[in-house]
């Protein structure tokens, strides 16, 4: 169907498609396509390729190293690269802290941090959640008190994706314990090599290690590493959450997964099986609806309106649809899915040549895809947001 793309957009789509086809390393593509977990070097290798092309931070202003991409270009870039099997473009630097720095940072902060993101030299991670502050971020208790030109930070952050690979962390810390929960929070940039930081791995149910708990024990952070005003961190955090959600509908990924589903089903002679066809039709319909909802939102953004709760809606549906495709793919494998123990994912076999574990990626992904309905503001929180802001209910 035709969404009325402009000639420029069509040309850009072709450019991205050709570039990805030419440059994406086959080994990385294979891992992504099969669902096997990526290592640090896999992410970095692809992002280095993008950095060379200047496409790491395409939607940033040119003055900061971006390409001034329109919203539709960002969408096309994401859809095409993801569909082709490129790794998830890690958002912590590019999508999260980068825009915060160029919007609210000092000139010194911009000069120090933005180039490392654009060149893919610095690996960032995000320090928001805490053991007692999950959906309710305002209750966080990691404290920072002033000591001369420094803050002394003590506490811990949890669910910190890829902290064990990262160079820097951006973190929300409490700088005023007497203020109301959302006041009294500051936004700090912290070098993970600072003394007093320890990182403890958390094993996920699909067997991978991507989550961590990061402990801060009297960690000294220069006051110059604070973004904006002291105690105004909530403002920057909300700005960031807005950016996070816009990107969350993963059309390219859903389409890629549907294709894998179809080919796995065909290999197993299910192409005419009515139960399979009925499930496939339902999932394809869900993806069609998600795609056109995304396009409508993109059209609104292109028309100059900032996305509002529509972003929550895409998060809600996108995470659910991808989750269902991932599960049904395992169902289509049937008993072949059973020949793999996810808890030994990283230790033993990350080796697709073993016949018995050739479907390990599908199994691992089924389990991992329980996460997107939880992270980035759980789907329950998204429903609260939509209820309040789109429906005008409490």
């Amino acid at each position: 169907m035709d969404a009325g793309w402009s000639p420029e957009d069509r040309a850009f789509r072709k450019e991205v498609r050709d570039f990805t086809q030419e440059k994406l390393p086959a080994a990385i593509r294979d891992k992504v396509m099969s669902g096997r977990p990526l290592e640090r070097q896999d992410y970095m290798r692809w992002q280095d390729i993008l950095a060379q092309k200047g496409w790491i931070a395409g939607f940033w202003p040119k003055c900061h190293g971006g390409q001034d991409w329109t919203a539709s270009q960002s969408y096309i870039f994401q859809e095409e690269t993801t569909y082709a099997g490129a790794p998830w473009l890690l958002p912590f630097g590019v999508n999260y802290v980068g825009p915060v720095i160029y919007t609210y940072g000092t000139e010194e902060q911009k000069a120090r941090h933005l180039p490392g993101i654009v060149s893919n030299e610095v690996f960032w991670c995000q320090g928001y959640s805490e053991p007692n502050a999950g959906s309710d971020l305002a209750r966080l208790s990691t404290r920072a008190h002033r000591d001369g030109d420094s803050y002394i930070v003590t506490g811990s952050k949890i669910w910190t994706s890829m902290a064990h690979w990262a160079d820097w962390i951006f973190a929300l810390v409490r700088t005023d314990s007497d203020a109301k929960p959302q006041a009294g929070i500051s936004f700090l940039l912290i070098d993970l090599n600072s003394p007093g930081i320890t990182i403890q791995p958390i094993q996920s149910i699909e067997g991978a290690h991507h989550l961590n708990q990061v402990f801060f024990d009297n960690v000294r952070v220069p006051v110059d590493n604070r973004i904006g005003e002291e105690n105004a961190g909530w403002t920057y955090a909300k700005f960031l959450l807005g950016h996070e959600r816009v990107l969350s509908a993963e059309i390219g990924k859903a389409k890629r997964m549907l294709e894998r589903l179809r080919s796995l089903a065909e290999e197993r002679n299910l192409a005419r099986d009515p139960r399979y066809l009925e499930n496939l039709a339902r999932l394809e319909t869900d993806v069609l609806a998600l795609e056109w909802t995304t396009l409508r939102m993109l059209d609104t953004v292109m028309g100059g309106t900032a996305p509002g709760v529509e972003a929550s809606m895409l998060k809600l549906r996108g995470s659910t649809v991808v989750q269902e495709i991932a599960e049904y793919t395992v169902d289509v494998l049937g008993h072949e899915a059973l020949a793999f123990d996810p808890l030994f994912l990283e230790e033993t076999i990350n080796d697709p040549s073993s016949e018995l574990s050739r479907n390990m990626g599908v199994v691992s992904e089924f389990l991992f895809q329980r996460a997107p309905t939880i992270w980035g503001g759980s789907n329950e929180i998204q429903r609260n947001i939509i209820s309040k802001h789109a429906l005008g209910l409490g």
């Binding site: 169907m1 035709d2 969404a3 394809e284 609806a289 059209d299 809606m313 209820s387």
Partner: protein, 343 residues
């Protein structure tokens, strides 16, 4: 991208809504059909070269309002007829007579026929077939059939065309139609071969855009009734819209309505291109129907007892959506077709 309405399209939407507002047109009436025709809405189905002012999107705007206001008049079959005629011969005089309301013609697709009954016979000199529960055919003078082999224009007054009409679940007149070796003259075969296939494709796209738009209008209206109701209805000391369990269900209804609108837009946009994949049209119809039905059932449930009464248009909405699901060519037909396609 051009997904938002043009100025002309917005004006059309406004004018249709203005006409509907306050008008009780939920019963079929000859006078309302005339009025609709006089307002020129049927022209939304064809382009300027054929004497209209529209295309897929304009027709969808009209159909969305038809659904949202539960207008009883069945415009979709006429839009399908117009689409077939425009594709076959944009200058046909019949088109302007249909747009003006002088003549009613209904378009028929192969998948609306009872199993395997639709057959071209005797080297394309006659046609037979059976159809059930067709809308608006009781008013029609012509039937326009889009078959993959040929596009046909039949007269309802032909002695071998048999019609039986009755009131349907949605309160509209339905007709069972039997074509019993209806002879085909040269004039009644509008096109053959690739041209016929193109006309059939065009008819399918129009049909999909019309049904999904009607679902979209209906679902949006049923949702809005419910949202208004929960804000005003008080129980246990607060509006029931203050209860989180209901809020989350309203959110799921809201998302369903948005997705019906998205699927309807996809179908309407398909009407502007030649190569829309059939399976995507089937999915759009099936998906719009499933989601709209969910909204209708939740609308009744969240209204409570009053939702079960004819004092509100919720039951009528549910009955109407059930018809769009079960009518030959509707959502169930499309789901069956998806089970037969292998890519």
């Amino acid at each position: 991208m051009k997904l938002t309405l043009t100025q002309e399209q917005s004006m059309l939407a406004d004018s249709v809504t203005r006409f509907m507002t306050g008008k009780n047109a939920t019963g079929e009436e000859e006078s309302i059909w005339r009025e609709v025709a006089e307002l020129g809405w049927l022209g939304a189905g064809v382009g300027e070269s054929a004497g209209g002012f529209g295309g897929g999107r304009e027709m969808a705007i009209v159909m969305e309002s038809v659904g949202g206001n539960e207008l009883a008049e069945a415009l979709a079959p006429v839009f399908v007829a117009l689409a077939i005629l425009e594709k076959s011969d944009p200058e046909a005089a019949l088109i302007s007579r249909i747009i003006s309301g002088d003549v009613v013609a209904c378009g028929l697709l192969p998948e609306m026929a009872a199993d395997d009954s639709l057959q071209l016979e005797d080297e394309m000199t006659s046609v037979s077939g059976q159809f059930h529960a067709l809308a608006n055919v009781h008013r029609a003078r012509h039937l326009v059939l889009a078959l993959p082999e040929a596009t046909l224009l039949l007269s309802v007054s032909d002695a071998n065309v048999h019609l039986r009409s009755y009131r349907g679940m949605d309160g509209k007149t339905k007709s069972d139609l039997k074509l019993d070796h209806v002879a085909l003259s040269e004039a009644s075969v509008l096109s053959k071969g690739p041209d016929a296939v193109a006309a059939l494709n065009r008819a399918r796209v129009t049909h999909a855009a019309a049904i999904t738009a009607e679902c979209s209008g209906l679902a949006a209206a049923l949702f809005q009734y419910t949202l208004d109701y929960v804000q005003q209805r008080r129980q246990f000391g607060q509006p029931i819209g203050g209860f989180q369990a209901l809020q989350h269900r309203l959110v799921d209804m809201f998302v369903a309505v948005e997705e019906v609108q998205s699927l309807a837009l996809a179908a309407a946009r398909a009407a502007t291109i030649e190569d829309a994949p059939e399976s995507a049209l089937s999915r759009a119809i099936a998906g719009a129907s499933d989601r709209a039905l969910h909204v209708a059932k939740e609308a009744i449930q969240l209204h409570g007892a009053v939702g079960m009464t004819e004092d509100l248009p919720l039951g009528a909405g549910l009955r109407r959506l059930k018809v769009l699901q079960l009518v030959p060519g509707g959502a169930e037909t499309q789901k069956r077709r998806l089970l037969q396609s292998f890519n």
